[in-house]
Symmetry: C3
Amino acid sequence: MKVLVNGLIALVLGVSSLTAAVGATSSDRARIVLQVSDDDPKKWNLALNNARNAQQDLGGPKNVDIEIVAYGPGINMLKMDAVTANRVSDAIKTGISIVACENTMGAQKIQKSDMNPSISYVPAGVIQLMRRQQQGWAYVRP
Amino acid sequence: MKVLVNGLIALVLGVSSLTAAVGATSSDRARIVLQVSDDDPKKWNLALNNARNAQQDLGGPKNVDIEIVAYGPGINMLKMDAVTANRVSDAIKTGISIVACENTMGAQKIQKSDMNPSISYVPAGVIQLMRRQQQGWAYVRP
Amino acid sequence: MKVLVNGLIALVLGVSSLTAAVGATSSDRARIVLQVSDDDPKKWNLALNNARNAQQDLGGPKNVDIEIVAYGPGINMLKMDAVTANRVSDAIKTGISIVACENTMGAQKIQKSDMNPSISYVPAGVIQLMRRQQQGWAYVRP
């Protein structure tokens, strides 16, 4: 009888942790990864507008995680002398993550010294976009 | 003993509802949200073709939920005088949801009286795209 | 008592299979579906670069499933005489799946004899993109 009761308790604990795991993948928390892969300042500004508006509409960075991943021809958005340089730095100050693809930088022989000093880096933009989706982030390509 | 049996019953009911929840997130039902964010009538027609073909191929609206979200420069697709106005109205009659982003409308000073009267509205297009993905809808950006 | 024990065993087995099902949808395995829907050789090469880099960075085809779905104006990428024909054939040899949308081919009166002989086909590109996401694949539109 005691064995049975212990078994039941273990089972209930198991089901509880399973519920927690399911909760994590169903992603109640707002999380958005935005892709920038065009060499087009209009798209860069649209992505920055999307990030800012989503953050404001959802009540600030405590309520939503936002990341912009720039790769391929979109890498120019994150250069030091890009027309969007100030907006990129300002967005990072509000808690938006903005990352550049090191694969792209290697292929285009771009150095970190060419880049906006406030950004972060990922080894491969496409893999970052995949991992974020696997972690339950929504994907939006402006 | 009776306690144990009641516990088991509760547990079985708990597991059943958990299974139902998992089933909901694994989204067996066909659900597609299409994004329109380009000011390009070719893209508007492509999105409308995608919606119509997916609905027909899957056996009609009883088998699939389809929504088109227009925001940013894509908002023009849903104006009253857009070249796609008739196609938009026809798509809505077949059960396709077509929604405009009120954030974009505010930024561009567009009134509802400028818009196709058959469409619906969401406060923020990007947040709608996120919520749909969290609900298990597939995302396609034509 | 024996009934109870059998019930518990059945329950444990049930929970185990449920855990397996949840594991499958949380998609630990790397799986990426890339969409090509632009009539733009730069986008075609970007998609092929993305596929190749993701495969190499993740340690080869044993570690990642990659599929490129071409539809709409993107169908031209997969024609026999496309500028990317050799790259498409080479990618397929490395284990990347590349599929053309038969709906698009019908609408544009394209025959299979016009197409790169190494590719595969799906009835509808958009439905393929939906199914892959439902199966846990990440979606990337270069």
